[in-house]
Amino acid sequence: MTKPRHFHVAGTPVPLVDGLEKVTGRARYTADLTTDDALVGRILRAPRGHARIIRIDTSRAKALEGVRAVVTGADCAQSYGVIPIAMNEYPMARDVLRYRGEPLAAVAAIDAKTAQAALDLIELTLEDLPAVYTAKEARAPDAVQLHPDKQGNLEREVHHSFGDPEAGMAKADLVRDEVFSCAEVNHAQMEPHAALADYDPERGHLTFHSVSQVPFYVHLTLARCLGMEAAQIRVVQPFIGGGFGARTETLNFEIITALLARAAGGKVMMHLTREESFLTHRGRPQTDVALKIGMTDKGKITAVKCEVVMAGGAYAGYGLVTILYAGALLHGIYDIENVKYDGYRVYTNLPPCGAMRGHGTVDVRHAFECLLDRMAHELGLDPFAVRRANLLRAPTFTPNDLMVNSYGLGACLDKVETASNWYNRKGKLPPGRGLGMACSHYVSGAAKPVHWTGEPHAVVSMKLDFDASITVLTGAADIGQGSSTIVAVAAADILSVDMSRIRVIAGDSALTPKDNGSYSSRVTFMVGNAAIEAARALRQKLVLAAAKKLESLPEDIVCEGETFSVKGSAQSMLSFQEVALAALAEEGTITVKGTFTTPIKAQGGKHRGGAVGSTMGFSYGAQVVEVTVDIATGLIRIDKVWAALDCGFAINPLAVEGQIEGSVWMGMGQALSEETRFVNGLAVHANLLDYRVPTMVESPDIEVHIVETIDPLGPFGAKEAGEGALSGFPPALVNAVADAIGLEANFLPMTPDRVLEALIKQRRAAKRKVAS
């Protein structure tokens, strides 16, 4: 059976290149790398929310038979953190512990039972300190301070003002302000955290496998925390069961596993439970958004003022980036001249927050799109009309110097407006049912990475050898988003070869070029471009070889469908293999590479923090959500979602659809049912019963519309597709609920108990109004 071959694959739906492994169970994830010689690692976690560590006595644990290593905070005095200027975390707490669940010590033993028994033998002497669990408590004047250098528990304040916000407000016909409160959420990727560390004491080498989205950062951090040379470390990335930002920084258990392996002089496998995976956290922080918008009676926004407070947990992590993103991404979606932003990232005695899909923008976009809708309503304008009154015109730069080269928001609006039959249905549905809409956008990779080295942002190399196969080497972590597939498609398309000729090797520091990792939707854009450049370089070599063989000029060579011929004369056609061998005859095995570097002008404004939010291109999305609300129980049912996304160009439409569906749906989880909850700092949500990830039963049909604007810098014109749609869902939902039952909700998630309570309050207020 021969498969039909098609060569111009970019733009056609392709299954994942590693899909076969996934559907057959052959795919090996970190926890699947079981070997009999691995010791079992386990972590002892803080039982208190905030305490001075007086003593950790591990002597009895060490003496237990079968225990091969015990480590504590004393074994690693090197702080770490993803942001070079904010490294204030240790793999295991030293001196002070700052949240319940923070690692204090760890053991490696011959089996799980012994490891657990050893943990039980570790004696803690702690002296409780007062703890603060909310931003409000942490900001109180007499609050206990978590970090000596951070007064008022403020990790970072941001004050940005562009244009003249005061004058803008003065020009407005309508000014409204509201405060929105959004609960903290977690990624809940399906694969619990795991790591496998193998230390060879003779060579002094460490081989490390883990669930990371950023193997390169893990590599650097391991070197730092273990005091090793990076050259002695190899980081390999197995299959990854989702990330969504949970793994975009080095995580404490990764360093701990390596420390244990070195201490034991061998191999240590660490499986975290689901509870521990939740405690490792790095989710989206609880966020309060106080937003004020000024608008003309035609719906044109004249000014925006926004104050954001995030309760970020006990350590810095990505915190300062999150609070900067929240302000920066007020820009780049609409044409707004006057914007004032004040952001406060606050330390609390809870597991540290971090980056989560839609990093920084989701809660602010939520507030923004909800308030826009309410103002539209007040002015008697249609929600679509208000958005249209504020469209940008590309190419342009925003007031905070973000580059916008392509802009399909208008087209997205048209698509979902038509698809949902908005005009004939909006406001005309039976009681309890409603339609709402919202817009959103997201960056296609940060134009300036957190580890700024001056190197290109992405490198892909390719090898062509005697078998005429092409091996593509990329450091990019495929976390399920299909990055390896994108790289393969780019190579196949440019070289006009069948996909089966291409193998992708990804994520092994010993083999593949360095890559910054899979976050901020950078991979398709940057790695995709690097792959195209590498493929072009290889193609050029092949064309030269073909030209020589065909005694013709390179510019006259047609390379098409695994054949090479001279333009206009198809008789003397060479096969791909023939040309490959001819090219190899010149120089032996061919290796080429392609790189991508973001242009300076894309790297954001000169103001402090101006690099955050900067990108080569934004994706744009519009969404309509249809709901039914049961006012007796407060339960909201999502009947249907229409989502349009401008992803520049859909290199793999199947994957783009999948990403849009997944991100809309994840927005739905945050909007409806997901939230972390703590009782005195103890996580009560740390399982999949209480952290309510939606099931298939209540998940709606999502109709996807792809808009293509062909971004001038994107690979084949593509931009990101995996995050932009997420932040549209929560506001579209809240707007739909307002349409259905007249409830203007300022909270997320819209759980039935909150909805019912808000309805009761609303009824009481209405009664009072009638009475007075």
Partner: protein, 321 residues
């Protein structure tokens, strides 16, 4: 090798008599039916057990016996089998509705009727890992001495959350209990005690052998307050039956998820042809609100659970008229 479960001996009796004997020999034993409640709880270290007596191999434990219009269900019948029975669906619709709302399909394949009726009570402070509970100084239900839900009270407030009990209660089911002392039969409601730490009136080593359903004389239905369409335990659940007697309608309701035991409400007010339905149901709603007393055993506010289950109860009752 991972050690998700503590060590224990498994006994696999093939008859109820053997199971009872096994318990006599091993008083620190526990019965395991489908294990879908017991094993997750064991993984969380929620009790110690030396011997596990697997009821899954007992011959005839899942038998269904028809006596005229009465039905006798072996306690070992799986919820999937129960859902598949046309006679139950037709005559006792609340039961099938309740079954279909339990957990997920793969749970229901293993889960048994007896296990569901004897389900362990649940609480925010109890259904947590060993590390968690230890960090919180444990609780009254296990290893500790205060109830974090109601610290001033003197009993455990953990909630009974089985979906099936109310559905069987409104059909006036009786349970057959057997022990080495013999067999006894109780109305299902009498199986339960309002105490989260000891909510079953079972004697040590007593087995729920079967459930007796008398001829159906009422139409019935079941509904559940929960946010997701699968997996979730009820925040509150309600079964309603409606029977016609002497030309008037009479409702019975039973609730789960709200108290440490399922609560039966035999509503005495009749709904006749001349009764004003709106005020009738308004009064019923108030009565339901008074009858249940949800506590802070879940992250969802008790007040909400009370209001929502009352509203749901009335909606279901109206649907049966």
């Amino acid at each position: 090798m991972s050690a998700n479960l503590p060590e224990f001996n498994l006994v696999k009796p093939s008859s109820i008599a053997e199971a009872l004997a096994a318990f006599r020999d091993q008083p620190h034993a526990k019965f395991c039916a489908g294990g879908t409640d017991l094993i997750p709880n064991m993984r969380h270290g929620l009790f110690e057990v030396e011997t596990l007596i697997d009821l899954g191999q007992i011959v005839g434990f899942d038998a269904v016996t028809i006596n005229g219009a009465d039905i006798e269900l072996g306690a070992g019948i799986s919820l999937s089998k129960l859902v598949g029975r046309a006679d139950i669906r037709e005559r006792f619709p609340a039961i099938v509705k309740a079954c279909e709302k339990v957990a997920g399909l793969s749970h229901r394949e293993a889960a048994t009727l007896g296990g569901n009726l004897c389900l362990e009570t649940r609480c925010l402070y109890y259904n947590q890992s060993e590390w968690w509970r230890k960090s919180n100084d444990y609780c009254l239900k296990y290893q500790g001495d205060i109830c974090h839900v109601a610290p001033r009270g003197n009993r455990c407030r953990a909630a009974f959350c089985g979906d099936l009990a109310p559905a069987f209660m409104v059909h006036r089911a009786e349970v057959e209990l057997v022990s080495l002392n013999g067999a006894r039969r109780l109305p299902l409601a009498d199986l339960y005690v309002e105490d989260g730490a000891a909510h079953l009136a079972l004697q040590p080593g007593e087995i729920l052998a079967s459930v007796h359903l008398p001829a159906a004389r009422a139409r019935s239905t079941y509904g559940k307050i929960c946010q997701r369409g699968a997996i979730d335990f009820p925040q509150a659940g309600v079964a309603v039956s409606c029977r016609k007697e002497a030309g008037v309608l009479q409702f019975e309701l039973a609730f789960t998820g709200t108290n440490s035991k399922p609560i039966l409400l035999e509503y005495r007010e009749p709904l006749g042809p001349k009764t004003d339905a709106d005020s009738y149901f308004e009064a019923l709603e108030k009565q339901v609100q008074k009858s249940v007393s949800p506590q802070r055993t879940t992250t969802t506010a008790p007040h909400y659970r009370r209001l929502a289950v009352a509203a749901l109860a009335v909606r279901l009752a109206r649907g049966l008229v």
